[in-house]
Amino acid sequence: MGLSAMHDERDRVVEFYDRALVGEQIGERQFDTRILPAKLRELVGKYEIVMTPGEFVPTDLDMARRVLEAGVELLADLGVYCTDTERLIAISRDEIETALEESPESFEQGCGAQTVKVRARGLDDTRAPSVNNGSCGSPMSEEAVVPALASCAMEDIDGLVTGYLKSVLGRETRARTPIELLACKKEVIYARQSLEIAGKPGLSILGIMSGGNSESQDACTFEGGLRASDRHLNVLDNELKLSFDTLNRVLHDAYAGTGTVSAIAPMLGGYCGGPESTAICGVAEVLASRVIFDNQCMGSWVESIWQDYASPQWLWVAGMLSLAFVAAGQHLVTGNWLGGNAGPWTAVQCREMAAQSVAVIACGSSIVHGFNGNAGTVEDHVTGMESRMLVEVCRAVAGISVTDANDIVGRVLAGYEDLCKPGNAPFGKSFLECYDADSLQPKEEFVAFWEAEKADLRSCGLPL
């Protein structure tokens, strides 16, 4: 053998870089407003995708399978748009099918005593889903971040999801500054400190939220930073788009050996349009992240221009992003990001969380990557009690059919529809208002509140 470069699987992203240089050139506005929407409209008609009005959880399994077929066709026909070259990165049907076939049915996250196996779930699957939780991208102060995350880690979660550090060493986190890079490092350091406090040093950490570009994101892998047993986020842009910066991140993770989770976020009302086309686009984005990022684990969030995170259309799309794969017998480890408009220690937040959890778990979601309150915008509105609630609800509802889930979600949200909307949802309380910061225990009234809410949710049909 000569001195020519040897094949290295870690270099696989270079293939997509090459395609981004030679693919069909299209203006970005043309792609956003004409090419993608027209293709989505065509596929909605061709595959007869129709959301039944008022349905919260998709119950038509044949249609779910057609959503997957439509998503495959969308990705195979269009590919992914590269914003740097304004060209399409072509992806073949064979590549999509191979990526699905080669999807691992399970993987491990965490290390030592906190190693957990995350398994692909199926329909009516009584096996409990995995549940990550934490501050989930919400802004955190340096004062509250360690105790708040420790309070989450003390609950029975399978992984800790970090938030965005609003300041570091008293300095505000600003893009493209040393403080942004430092915030990414401190985000992991504080997360690991919180795991030590909780007595679970091996629990998997999922981040990073404090940096907006690959330079700062990649700063999270260092001695004492993210480990191979942790998970780093890979993000596609809205819709079906990526930049070289995204590929930088993928390449870095491949060489750092860090596990990855995708964060795709098709937007209802945005370039995707309505729920049917948003579901198709979301499925295509899951497939794209599998093909390009080679992620073991998926993570789908449904963004909405109306921020209607408890509406029938939001829940239907969120459920469909798992059901499309599960109904077709695919063994992909599907996952969902959850979140609502209300803040901690409010009945509305309990309803938002319960409705979303029931919907996605019944649809076969393998892992929930956390629930953030206040639409992820309010500082320190994170407590361990949300982790307790999420774990209890997600595990209790495993095995519920999509039809039963639809009925349950309807009862859970009855009378709460308007209260869940932005502007109406209650603000809730901060970590320091909800917890004793020294003992890291929730206030007794908070625990009693959840017990009362659980009783109400039981009356809605949740087997809590």
Partner: protein, 224 residues
């Protein structure tokens, strides 16, 4: 059957809407009346978007088609001495280091649908781009979008640059997920809006108040 202006706008059919305008003028219709019809249709597109009956692509395409129609109408409007009355001129963009532009595009398109003249400086736009464009087009309002908390300081820089450039008639509004009313006030912005329809209302209010001030009318304070 010929398509209506509303249908042409929704389709973003720039070619056909130019034909529609040309034919209307050839048939002897008053340019101002044609503009009114198009503006009404554009308003309907905005209303459909707010009701969830049309989505962002339709809103953006309608804005592009409306601009194509106005370009054809402009010479005729000038000849007929009819004034093209825009509700105001807005310069809009996403701040430096922030690549998110969906929210900004929604606000820009809805402003255009509601009769404003909109100049979009895109995403990752430095403060000087906002200011230079605003000076060139004599903007009434600069609308600054920031989705990331880490880029909020760039909105402050736009306002600081406005102060330095001495633009007393121009107003600045800020928006985006991390933006609060308190923060907007603290950096000297003239306002913020929680969503696109509120941003349209805010621009109408700010420009209306400024025009009253220019006319020497002191707006009455509303009783608490």
């Amino acid at each position: 059957m010929a398509s209506t202006p509303l249908e042409l706008l929704i389709e973003g059919n720039e070619e056909e809407i130019r034909v529609f305008v040309g034919k209307a003028l050839k048939d002897g219709r008053e340019p101002a009346a044609v503009l009114d019809e198009l503006s009404d249709s554009m308003g309907q597109v905005g209303a459909m978007f707010e009701r969830g009956e049309a989505f962002l692509p339709e809103l953006m395409l309608a804005g592009d088609a409306m601009q194509a129609a106005v370009d054809v109408l402009m010479p005729a409007l000038a000849d007929s001495r009819s004034a093209f009355v825009s509700k105001g001129t807005i310069v809009i963009g996403t701040v430096k280091d922030d690549m998110h532009d969906v929210g900004k595009n929604i606000v820009a398109s809805l402003l255009a649908a509601n009769g404003f003249t909109v100049h979009d400086v895109g995403r990752d736009a430095p403060a000087e781009t906002f200011i230079r464009t605003a000076q060139e087009v004599q903007a009434d309002v600069i609308a600054v979008s920031t989705l990331l908390s880490t880029t909020m300081n760039h909105a402050e820089q736009v306002i600081a640059a406005m102060d330095q450039a001495d633009m007393p008639l121009c107003r600045c509004i800020v928006g985006g997920a991390p933006v609060t009313e308190q923060w907007a006030e603290s950096i000297g912005a003239h306002g913020t809006a929680k969503d696109a329809p509120s941003a349209v209302a805010l621009c109408e209010r700010l420009i209306g108040m400024r025009r009253l001030e220019e006319a020497g009318v002191r707006p009455m304070l509303e009783p608490d």
